[in-house]
Amino acid sequence: MAAIVTISAICVIAAKNPVHSVLWLILSFFTSAGLMVLIGAEFLAMLLVVVYVGAVAVLFLFVVMMLDVDFVELKQGFLSYLPFGALIGLAFIAEIALATFARGTSAESFNPHPGAENNVEAIGQVMYTEYLLLFQLSGLILLVAMIGAIVLTLQHRPHVKRQSVAHQTQRRRSDAIRRVDVKSGEGL
């Protein structure tokens, strides 16, 4: 499974077609969820599938399909972005290494549900006690991001016809239909 994750992750970068790379990305998300199931963290695995594969990647796919990205042009800028990308990659590796060294590599430190019956409880117990502040802060950041996105895209154009649902449902027969006696040969 780890092999599939790695290969599909490489394919994300290597694929010529942007839609294909998103599909590879989805495969790598999905397989990493499989890895989590293997170490016994089913709850996290399912959340990964629901949130990343089921929601985030769908929107990703939407955007990539709708945008007409010229990939040849993007490829030419590859070298100039390389140092920045490498920096981010290095930072990630450093973080993971740090976390691993800090916790040690004993079997107990990788126990998916320490001190609780299953890992749903285990996560709930620390998330709403020890890390409550961080948890709420991250929620707040998401809220700010959401409001920001709405503010950026919301624009009231003055001459747009809008549908008022209340108006539509209140419409009665008498408002819409008028009986007219038309004399023959005259028309309205």
């Binding site: 294909h20 594969v53 796919l61």
Partner: protein
């Protein structure tokens, strides 16, 4: 499962699991053939038609005839299509539709995999179902399927949100995500089913509303009428599957109907007591019968409920006019989402202050 394998040896254990999966698949496909017929028959009856009645007695063999015809037709792949993704899409949607059934318990212990995050698994797999549709629409490399798939996907993603929240209310009430435990929580007769939940009297209106909303969301999630805007056959050139023919189309269709039956099964499990009959028979009475007979009885109840829901799905298709797309989105985001969020808060408050869970 692992305990079972340890007891009976690796080979026997795996063989049993594979046997269970095969049995599930075959039974599902066979019952799907007749459910499809039922769908058409109900639809026909409402319109005072006879429906399929030529192939076999009462048209019982109609689905099998259709099946044969689908298989014998030529598979046409559009010249501009992305061949791999084009063929992968229907396979993916069928596989996912089957995979979701792995955690559905049809009778006590009669389940392929009794995950303790069963509900979440169902939710995850059904949220993956969008990919078959998007991939199919995109790979066809044509405008109509692409637009159809975008409409479909937008609709499914929107209603997933409210379905997720409604599921959370049930999870809160039970205190477990295991489907077997959710069913067993409703063991005490029809008044303890989550639709009514008279044992939590205050919650009765909330859960009833949740049930109705789940039903409507399930209609929208499976692109069934009155929310079948992605394929609205009387108004548009179908949806994402325009370019598909023969077996790939068949796979899409089976996947779609499997998802509908899955939704029926989910409603049965979450709200209608799963395999439990409406009136509990009492331990002493049940003990007179051998276990397999009891389980068979449970299975019959489960299937009856699923068929009842499928009948409702078919009936809705026949009697309700189609919605407009903006109305669909309005219901999903402006009515269902806030209402189900409110219900989550109410149920959570009830659970905490009444001490429902230990």
């Amino acid at each position: 499962m692992s305990a079972f394998i340890q007891e009976h040896g690796l080979l026997f254990g795996w063989l049993t699991v594979i046997g269970q999966i095969l049995l599930f698949t075959i039974v599902l496909l066979l019952s799907l053939a007749f459910l499809l017929l039922m769908d058409r028959k109900v639809w026909a009856s409402v319109m005072l038609r006879k429906g399929p009645n030529v192939v076999g007695p009462f048209g019982l063999m109609q689905s099998f005839a259709d099946f044969g015809k689908f298989l014998l037709k030529e598979i046409i792949i559009p010249a501009g299509a992305n061949k791999t993704v084009f063929l992968l899409a229907p396979i993916l949607s069928l596989t996912l539709a089957f995979a979701a059934w792995a955690v559905i318990p049809v009778a006590p212990g009669w389940v392929v995999s009794d995950l303790n995050v069963g509900v979440l698994y169902l939710f995850a797999v059904s949220s993956l179902g969008v990919y078959g549709i998007i991939m199919g629409g995109w790979a066809s490399n044509s405008k109509y399927p692409f637009l159809g798939s975008l409409r479909s996907a937008a609709q499914m993603v929107s209603y997933e949100v409210s379905i997720g929240l409604i599921i959370i209310t049930v999870i809160l009430l039970v205190g477990s995500m295991n489907l077997t435990e959710i069913v067993d929580n409703q063991a005490g007769g029809f008044w303890t089913w989550h639709v009514l939940s008279w044992n939590h009297f205050i919650l009765f209106p909330v859960m009833l509303a949740m049930f109705v909303m789940f039903f409507v969301s399930a209609l929208a999630e499976t692109n069934r009428p009155p929310f079948d805007l992605p394929e609205a056959e009387s108004e548009l050139v179908a949806g994402y599957q325009v370019e598909y023919s023969s077996t790939p189309y068949l796979l899409f269709m089976i996947g779609e109907y499997l998802n509908i039956v899955l939704m029926c099964a989910m409603m049965t499990i979450l709200f209608l007591g799963g395999w439990h009959g409406p009136i509990p028979l009492g331990e002493d009475f049940v003990a007179n019968f051998p276990l397999w007979m009891v389980n068979l009885g449970h299975l019959v109840w489960f299937m009856l409920k699923v068929i009842f829901f499928f009948f409702l799905f078919a009936l809705v298709k026949a009697v309700v006019p189609r919605y407009r797309y903006d109305q669909l989105m309005r219901i999903g985001w402006k009515i269902f989402l806030p209402t189900s969020l409110g219900a989550v808060v109410i149920v959570a408050g009830y659970v905490v202050y009444m001490g429902v869970q230990a």
